[in-house]
Symmetry: C2
């Protein structure tokens, strides 16, 4: 019996993999209708910050894992002490929860990072900028940011005034002139087996992952190996159990730098559901249950994932007749979430040989789900339908 804390789409897709493995899942969900609760018959609705609630959900479960990284570490230590293995554990999750801790540990490991420093005052920020090439620099809250929230690019210290005034701990980072973003995804089991997925390219819009291409096109084999080795080493050194995603910058001058860490199945791994021998969700389950990992190999020369964001269309189902008729090879994954502008409500995967064709097909489908009927898509649709 496995407990999953958090009822978002990551938990939902873990549950889908748990069906094949016949592993019963106890879910702690934020509400009765959230994404994962819709498909789980043994859901508890409650607050993941409440220890008694966590205890009740974990009661029959040898292993506890997570849809997100926000469960209070002290509660995880208590559950661990009471015989429920929390995977990943609080000692590892710390580095996904706190960007200052993350930068300190990675720097200690010699992992390549952008230049960074904690900044407590505007004067600290000015000094950080002056130490490098000046402004602009990146300011981040050490905790609580995701999908671009809690991150600012500032041209002077005044632009960070609100952040400083809020009193939350901040760090400054060099604004990296990156060529593109990459992601190195690994699964690491409780007893230390590691499986590395092919390194992918991810494309962000407004801080939200929009597209993933697996594997990253035109990535030098030695750089791909460097990224995979780096992710495997971080997973081992930090004792991550489950999926670790290492988000990377590839710089114009050919280096890779660590941007962020995530210790759970990750948006840059959704392509694995249709594109790899074993999906990241199944390997996350195998890893936390300490089962041998499945093959992370790609099944096709390229797999493209495009996220579906909430748009003008209220009922995503209404897009099915068009997208399915246009593209019998398209794989659709919807999360059962209500549509709000910009919210991640699903994704599509396509795989094959011709990357341009795959990009066109996946983008078209996502645009249709989003109701973005711009001239280009309308014109094209008119010739196809």
């Amino acid at each position: 019996m496995l407990a999953i804390i958090g009822g978002g789409q990551l938990a939902r897709m873990m549950e889908q993999s748990a069906v094949s493995l016949a592993v019963p899942v106890r879910l702690l969900a934020e509400g009765p209708e959230v994404s994962a609760a819709q498909v789980n018959p043994t859901t508890t609705v409650g607050d993941y910050r409440d220890l008694e609630t966590l205890r009740a959900v974990a009661a029959d479960c040898a292993v506890v894992t997570f849809d997100h990284e926000h469960v209070p570490p002290e509660h995880l230590r208590t559950l661990d002490a009471e015989g429920h293995a929390c995977r990943p554990g609080p000692h590892a999750l710390l580095y996904a929860q706190d960007k200052l801790e993350m930068r300190e540990v990675l720097t200690g490991l010699g992992a390549p990072c952008p230049r960074w420093a904690p900044v407590a005052t505007p004067a600290d920020l000015d000094a950080f900028a002056a130490d490098g090439d000046g402004y602009p620099v990146v300011v981040k809250t050490t905790r609580g940011g995701y999908d671009g929230k809690g991150v600012w690019v500032v041209d002077d210290a005044d632009q960070a005034a609100d952040a400083f005034a809020s009193g939350v701990p901040l760090i400054a980072e060099e604004l990296v002139a990156f060529r593109r973003e990459l992601s190195a995804l690994v699964a690491r089991s409780a007893s230390g087996q590691v499986a590395a997925y092919p390194v992918v390219e991810s494309r962000q819009e407004n801080g939200i992952c929009r597209e993933v291409i697996a594997p990253a096109p035109d990535l030098a084999p030695e750089r791909a190996a460097e990224a995979e080795m780096l992710a495997m080493r971080i997973a081992g050194e930090l004792d991550v159990v489950g999926i670790l995603a290492v988000e990377l910058f590839e710089t114009a001058d050919g280096r890779i730098l660590v941007n962020e860490l995530a210790m759970r199945p990750h948006n840059t791994g959704h392509w694995t559901m249709d594109g790899a021998g074993t999906s990241q969700f199944e390997n996350h389950l195998r890893a936390v249950l300490d089962l041998p990992l499945g093959s992370p190999q790609a099944r096709a020369p390229y797999t493209v994932m495009v996220n579906i964001l909430g748009g003008e269309v209220g009922r995503l189902y209404d897009a099915y007749p068009h997208v399915m008729a246009r593209d019998p090879g398209l794989k659709v994954h919807l999360y059962g979430k209500s549509v709000k502008p910009g919210r991640k409500v699903g994704h599509v995967n396509v795989y094959g040989d011709d990357l341009d064709d795959l990009l066109e097909r996946a983008r078209h489908a996502a645009a249709w789900f989003e109701g973005r009927l711009d001239d280009e898509i309308e014109g094209e649709g008119a010739t196809h339908e």
Copy 2:
């Protein structure tokens, strides 16, 4: 909202596909712990022979589909009349429920069948045998048989005495000297789109499907096309909506003959979960919801499926460390069913280029799950572990 009647593994795997499509499923299950009920939060426990129970489950559902073919046709006609589209409908299901009706309609369509006749008395059976090459012949109950039950091969009429004494309607069929068994699987949508999967070879033991090889090795392209066309034609003529499996004999002299029809996802299609562009379960859902069908194309040169039958091992989970460590490419699908000797409790799929390698891997894994530690497997295991 889709209603599924019956809580077996076919419903469970339909539900798994319904998660990706975000189609809510109302399940009518035989008990609270049956296979599909374990993974469905909106299960009704009740009797599928009771009209009021069916009405309650179907209440919010535009479409009703099935895990099995045993719902009384008069109830389906009532549900249909009350605005719930039963797919497949009772007019089609009749031919999967009754072997006499099936033989009559197929013969009327000119579909190739073994020689057959209804037999009411031992004298009818003797006459049927005398019309052909004599005994042995096959005797079948027209209704209620599955997995080899309700089927006898008899050397004289005396051996069918119990069957005649029971008073159930019987048919006799020629005992076909077949080279092997094939299965042609198609999905047909409510508006008539048909997708044909590659024709597979199936191997039975004691009347139970044991292995499937997709596509059937060394099948002449024209015979494969003939089988696909036959299945598509039967689906259209009988107005099947959903998956239709046409089980076939390939005779030593190069003909194909229809053995059985099944109108639901079928054991000979389980390979599609990992081996085809769209699984039979997703295409069954798309077909009954009248959505465009997904690609039935194979993703690898060969995919092998081997069933896991209940054996000596009580807890199938205990087999995971070995089978997963030995074969990271193996795909496991367990049904959450209690283990009883000979009961289908799961299956494994493997795909790749080398058929002998795939057969060895899938058979080894199934044997390990079943606790069949014979000399061959022990010796081999010893060299691998």
